[in-house]
């Protein structure tokens, strides 16, 4: 009896040692190119993910690239040329889905490739609905929402999304993104369409015309932006009375630059940003990329990122760990788009709808803009 136990135990030991040995000696490349958006966002990733990772793996060298805005086109070109130079790429969820569709991003198995939640929940449960694609590992929830000049709205600061169409109460220019996504939804919402019918209406020809007609009522009052930094600059210069942009940019205008700007959270549109690993990497490079991602998307790391930028961690288990801003020392929770006070009325970017209608509605939108 004793002998059997001992044998079994030593056998188990041998197996586990072998496994540990294999893991420790699995060849991993020592250089890794990480692609992100630059600016404050990339800095938050450097502080929260990369610096601790390099501390634990001192012989790894990280190269940064700031090409996330053109990630899909560049990855496609790299793939055609047969020379993929990126290892880990930060993209928005819709791009992650497209990269997966095009076969340019590798599929991930959350249970194997991602760490368990600190509260013991499995990775799949911890990320929940945010796992919108087989290739995409979410990091943060951000939102596209409005900021307004507190000194230009009098005593009645806007609390309703439809303030953007109300040029009488809030005269002045507005900044909207130069693409149909989000704008069409807001227009329909303010044209009396119920929230849960917005996409059904937008799928029809009449619905699209209706949305454009609503946007037409303020067309002369709109400055169309194409870079996320435009709206903060326009707000700071006093060029516009309100404008849409990413909530993290507005946080930095309000709290870091102390500009007279307020947040309008109503009908904010949630979107996700996260990692993908390109296909076509050598085994060593892929092993390194997966090793990094497993570390960088665990509960603590995701919570840490919120110290540097006001985007919500994608794991449910990270939320209770969100603390204070690293430099300003203010509580970050009230600035998160997911904070209950801010998330009373929200949209989630409808990936499937826009994957289908993007080309069609964009053509109509651009033709409408050029008229």
């Amino acid at each position: 009896m004793k002998l059997t136990t001992a044998l079994l135990a030593s056998g188990a030991l041998a197996v586990s040692t072998a496994a540990a040995f294999a893991e420790a000696h699995m060849k991993m490349a020592n250089e890794m190119t990480i692609v992100s958006w630059g600016g404050a966002y990339q800095k938050s990733q450097l502080k929260a993910y990369v610096e601790p990772y390099l501390e634990a793996n001192p012989d790894v060298k990280v190269i940064w690239d700031e090409s996330s805005a053109e990630a899909v086109a560049k990855l496609r070109a790299m793939n055609e040329a047969g020379n993929v130079t990126w290892d880990v790429v930060d993209v928005v969820a819709s791009d992650g889905i497209r990269l997966c569709d095009e076969g340019l991003a590798a599929e991930i198995d959350p249970e194997v490739d991602l760490a368990k939640g600190d509260d013991g929940s499995s990775a799949e449960d911890d990320f929940g609905d945010l796992l919108v694609s087989e290739c995409f590992i979410p990091q943060i929830v951000y939102s596209t929402t409005f900021g307004y000049r507190t000194d230009k709205v009098g005593d009645t600061p806007p609390a309703d999304i439809c303030a953007i169409f109300d040029t009488e109460t809030y005269p002045g220019k507005r900044a909207l993104e130069k693409r149909p996504i989000n704008n069409m939804e807001w227009a329909l919402l303010c044209d009396g369409v119920a929230k849960d019918e917005v996409y059904d209406v937008l799928a029809t020809e009449e619905g699209q015309e209706k949305a454009l007609a609503k946007l037409g009522t303020i067309k002369d009052d709109v400055i169309w932006w194409s870079a996320g930094a435009d709206t903060p600059q326009l707000l700071a210069d006093g060029e516009i009375v309100m404008g849409s942009t990413y909530n993290g940019r507005l946080f930095s205008v309000i709290e870091e630059q102390k500009q007279p700007v307020g947040m309008l959270w109503d009908a904010q549109v949630f979107d996700l940003d996260g990692w993908i690993v390109p296909t076509g990497l050598t085994d060593e490079r892929k092993a390194r990329a997966m090793h990094f991602i497993k570390f960088a998307t665990d509960t603590q790391r995701l919570a840490d990122q919120a110290k540097y930028i006001s985007y919500g961690p994608a794991r449910a288990s990270s939320a209770p760990l969100v603390g204070q801003h690293a430099d300003l020392g203010i509580d970050m929770a009230p600035h998160m788009p997911t904070d209950p006070a801010n998330a009373k009325n929200t949209f989630l970017y409808n990936y499937e709808f826009w994957a289908d209608y993007r080309d069609d509605i964009d053509a109509k939108f651009q033709a409408w803009l050029a008229q």
Binding site: I223, Y357, D359
Partner: protein, 542 residues
């Protein structure tokens, strides 16, 4: 300059070229061939020397030639090719494309069950290789909704009830499950001929196993698609070849098999498969080459009865092309108006002052493009420097400040500023070569200042204007960053749409077609310029 070249040539030793001429003359003078020192006819040995010299010259320019070929000609050729290439459809869905040949896109009915069988086999293999979503994206440019149709169906296609076929064949003879049987079967040519669909499906399936998975087809369990194809071949084709054995038994039994309704399976996966436009799009875009991208680029589309205009609400490219040409001409014009006096001053002031002025011209040239464009934003916006000054002076009321940016005006101002050096520099170098004595001579003969300038000086500076205009115009027509930043909605160029299709919508075919049209427009204008002004009349200097 040319005199000097002639002088040096004359003073050099005779070249092989000269020798050839002398040899030729001598050969004519007396009939016998002149021999070189080694006994070969002089003519041949000289032409060999000449060839060597030409080779050497070619080798000297080879680095540049190869560089130009690789980095300039090849990408342009690739772009031209992309604008018509459409192989993705017939490569991803070869059986469906073949089956659709018998279907007319004018039919009021969607294609029959054979097409659905073909589509099932194609989509199954495509989803194994993860190619179906790529094709979905491609066809979604033409018909909204195909992207999710392919994505959804690709997920479902492996769960279709076609395992009923597998079960029925295996129940008939368990050997059907043995991959070696299949390998042996398709080594026989007569069987391949009798079972065409099954043979093609087997080939594609085994290619997939070998290429993608690194597996041996003789060891992998035969998939449902193979049995589906076999059922199709046995029920439709002529099977008189099978007199005995497994196939003959299957052929005899197959009529009694329970049929799987693949059409119903597809419709269950997504009801859009019953939609006629989806099938029409598939049929219209099934050829390997298409003019669809070019039609899109001129606001047209491929309809059922050939090319037709797009609905008014989607027409944009023609407007943009006209606007791009118009604004490029405006920018070139304002560059001439502003650049000419500056170049004249540069050429006629004393050297010290001219050098200082030259630095002022070149300084912005050396500054980053983005910085210059952003500076214009600060200058021109409603709360910007110019408006502030105007309000302070009382010229403009604070309530209605001028709108000078995010429109055509802003784009023209910023781009004129950015492209000005390209006008001034060629103008300056041409003006420097005009002798001031001509003007003095004209005046001494009684011409007024204006006549002297217009009749004597200006005609001599025209080559500089020509060179500057071509430079500025061609740079302006392809400009992208400045219109994107300061152009708003009315000041954007066609290049902004090209950039959008390259980096955002990934419709590279359309981007290539737009680029090709732009290239053709530039070449056409260049040709017109050559006919009207003459390209020999363009000088960049001396």
């Amino acid at each position: 300059m040319s005199d000097a070249t002639d002088a040096t040539t004359a003073s050099q030793a005779p070249t092989p070229d000269d020798g050839l001429r002398i040899a030729d003359a001598e050969a004519r003078a007396d009939a016998g061939p002149v021999l070189a020192a080694d006994g070969t006819p002089l003519k041949r040995s000289l032409s060999r020397a000449l060839r060597m010299q030409k080779m050497r010259a070619l080798m000297l320019i080879a680095p540049l030639l190869i560089f130009v070929l690789v980095t300039f000609i090849a990408p342009i050729a690739d772009m031209l090719f992309r604008s018509v290439e459409n192989q993705i459809v017939s490569e991803t869905l070869p059986e469906t494309v073949m089956a659709l040949e018998d279907w007319d896109e004018h039919d009021a009915e969607i294609p029959g069950p054979d097409t659905f069988t073909a589509l099932y086999i194609d989509l199954y293999l495509a989803s194994e290789r993860k190619l179906h979503t790529r094709l979905g994206t491609r066809l979604n440019y033409e018909q909204t909704g195909i992207s999710s149709l392919f994505r959804k169906t690709g997920r479902r296609v492996k769960r279709f009830a076609t395992d009923d076929y597998t079960k029925q064949f295996v129940a008939l003879d368990p050997e059907w499950e043995n991959p070696a049987v299949w390998v042996a079967m398709f080594e026989q040519d007569d069987l391949r001929k009798a079972l065409p669909l099954t043979a093609r499906t087997w080939d594609r399936w085994s290619d997939f196993l070998i290429e993608e998975e690194g597996d041996d087809p003789a060891k992998e369990k035969p998939e449902d698609i193979l049995f589906t194809a076999l059922y199709h071949d046995l029920t439709t084709g002529d099977q008189s070849a099978f007199t005995e054995g497994r196939l003959a038994r299957a052929d005899a039994a197959v009529e009694a098999f329970e049929r799987v309704d693949l059409k119903a399976e597809f419709l269950d996966a997504d009801k859009d498969w019953a939609s006629l436009p989806v099938w029409q799009t598939l049929k219209i875009y099934s050829p390997e080459y298409t003019d669809g991208y070019f039609l899109n680029a001129v606001d047209m589309q491929k309809g059922l009865d050939g090319p037709e205009m797009r609905p008014e609400s989607q027409q944009i490219y023609f407007t943009l092309l006209k606007r791009t040409l118009f604004m490029s001409l405006m920018i070139t014009g304002s560059c001439i108006l502003l650049g000419y006096p500056v170049a004249w001053l540069l050429a006629n002031l004393p050297a010290r002052t001219a050098n200082l002025l030259m630095i002022l011209v070149l300084l912005p040239f050396w500054t980053s493009l983005l910085v210059r464009t952003s500076a214009w934003k600060v200058m021109l916006q409603q709360q910007g420097v110019i408006n502030d000054v105007l309000v302070w002076l009382g010229v403009v009321d604070n309530a209605d400040r001028l709108i000078m940016i995010n429109n055509q005006f802003g784009t023209i101002v910023a781009m004129t500023h950015i492209l000005l050096p390209f006008m001034i520099l060629p103008l300056y170098s041409v003006m420097q070569t005009i002798p001031p004595t001509y003007l003095r001579a004209a005046k001494s003969l009684g011409a007024t200042n204006w006549t002297a300038f217009w009749r004597v000086y200006f005609p001599q500076s025209v080559p500089g204007i020509g060179a500057g205009s071509i430079l500025v115009f061609i740079l302006a027509i392809g400009y992208y960053i400045t219109p994107e930043i300061v152009g708003g909605t009315t000041g954007t160029f066609i290049s902004n749409r090209i950039a959008y299709h390259i980096s955002s919508s990934l419709n590279w075919g359309l981007a290539a077609a737009l680029g090709s049209i732009l290239l053709a427009a530039v070449l056409l204008l260049y040709w017109a310029y050559d006919r009207i002004v003459g390209i020999d009349n363009v000088k960049l200097g001396g």
